[in-house]
Amino acid sequence: MKLASLDRVLGVAFFAVAAGAALQARKFSVAFLIDPLGPKGFPLLAATLLAAGSLFVVLRPDRRSEFPERAAAGRIAAAVASFVIYALSVAPLGFFLSTALEVAFLARLFGGGVKASLASGALTAAGLWILFALVLGLPLPAGMIFG
């Protein structure tokens, strides 16, 4: 068994989350306490359970849990990066443009052709815009170009 399996990495990460949460929760204090548990009780309980579970996962990881292959990991990382760029650009560029570009990029990543990807991006963005902004009346950002 490899030392650094995916199970171990996740287990350590969750343990850290639990520890951080518990440290924060200990500091919760209030002037008006109406029940014996208070704001601390439940978070501390959840953190304890999480710590116990993740410790167990670290000590006895599953054999079959492995990291994704290199090429796959690269594609996923690119997708995550594009999500981040999308979040940054949706307000300034507007919903339609940024969504169309993002969908086109993802379509390329999934192996679509250039023209087909661009078309699918534009169609998807337009369809969603009609449904959400026009029919449902939800305020989507128009952006600087269409705004």
Binding site: L6, L10, G11, F14, A18, A21, F28, V30, L33, D35, P36, L37, P39, F42, P43, L45, A46, A47, L49, L50, A52, S54, F56, V57, D62, R64, E66, P68, E69, A71, R75, I76, A79, V80, F83, A87, V90, T99, E102, V103, A104, L106, A107, R108, F110, G111, G112, A116, S120, G121, T124, A125, L128, F132, L136, G137, L138, P139, L140, P141
Partner: protein
Amino acid sequence: MEAIQHLASGFAVALQPLNVILAFVGVLVGTTVGMLPGIGPINAIAVLIPIAFALRLPPESALIMLAGIYYGSQYGNSISTILLNVPGTASAVTTALDGYAMTQSGRAASALAVSAIASFVGGTLSIFGLVLFAPLLAKWAIRFGPAEYFALMVFAFAALAGLAGANRAKALVATSLGLLLATVGFDPNSGLARFTFGEMKLLDGMDFVVVTIGLFAVSEVFRVLEGGEAGRLAAAAIGSVMARVREAVAAAWTMVRGSVVGFLVGVLPGAGGTVASFMAYATEQRLVDRRGTFGSGDMRGVAAPEAANNAAATGAMIPLLTLGIPGSGTTAVLLGALLGMNVTPGPLLLEQRPEVFWGLAASMYLGNAMLLVLNLPLVGVFVRVLELPRWALFPGVAALSFVAVYAVNQSVLDLWLMTGFGVVGYLMRRAGFPLAPLILGLVLGPLMEKNVRRALALSGGDWGVLFSSPLAIALWILAAATAVLPWLVSRRGAGRGALSLLRAEGGSQ
């Protein structure tokens, strides 16, 4: 019997041509809106209420349309859940387990048909429940105090623990992570903000839609990007409508049991569809899952939560109509609509405005029937979505996720969180952590914490209050039995243990 007479007159109202058309429009709009995750019936109803006012519809006609939207959106939600693994509401998470698994094995059409039929059965049976037992059940709902709610939540978690499977530690991690996430936000019992890091948005807690869409839909996009067989959705076999109906008959008793469980839970204000659909699933798994097929595409795993979900929606009408107390967000909107029509729901509604009560009962039935008529033939159309090539389908799923998360609150933070949960969800699924317990922890956690603290505040800190009523004690015994029984059973018949809820990671295996 007087009730039957009233119901008949209710049907006479509901079957007027205008009302039938309105029911149809309601179901149509509801189904369409319901397919979009994150929007939900509340927004659809809120959009249409002013239109109903503007058209000067009589109260019963407006209610018929609203009921149509309510049911339609629930079914629409099942469509996107089953086909794309994008559950837009907490109650659909349970449907995703077996529904998406069925889609992956090429049985999407069957899953959709079973879901429609189960919804119809749940809606139909629960309307009988409403007609026969409404006043009685209203009394039951009042007796249900904080201690009883807490015991009910423990019961729900016991159902989860009793099913603990291959890797209990991973299930524990997922559940407690959900519980911990549930504590993020403003704590009403102390007026304190917990784990919000000064971010105003987080005061309301982790948005359920953001977490689910990240964990289920976005992680699915990443998984498919791995390449290989993942996400290659088998070409769906589309049989005739009758063939699908015949197939669904096999799950008839599952639907009946799911309806009963769902209806009873739905009557309790605040508990609602999530608890109902999960309880129905867990019960059904205990009772009928002999071969351990739940979680890997068992039709009954779709039928139970779908029936329960719809029955719960009807059950939620009981506290609204008999007590004037809205038990869920959607019934709160309905309450507003009723008030706007000069109808005050409450203990006197049945006496003073029987035509509204029975008209609504009849119209809910009509909405359910309409749903079946509209959607069964359309199953084949919806399934076509799966014929799209992956490069067109999954970027679309991603875009749908973006809008669902962003449109409602316009918060970029939500997009960050969604992406984060997508990555975490992807890694967890890869490592074999089950995701359903995480969602349950997130949804049930606040109910559990609030009610235990409420109970203790009411008793002045005396823990005995948790076991002080016969109802609470009964629930505790049920919880204990639920946790222990499968363990005893599995000791006797090895390999029979029903493990799928914990094995299934959003139906991906």
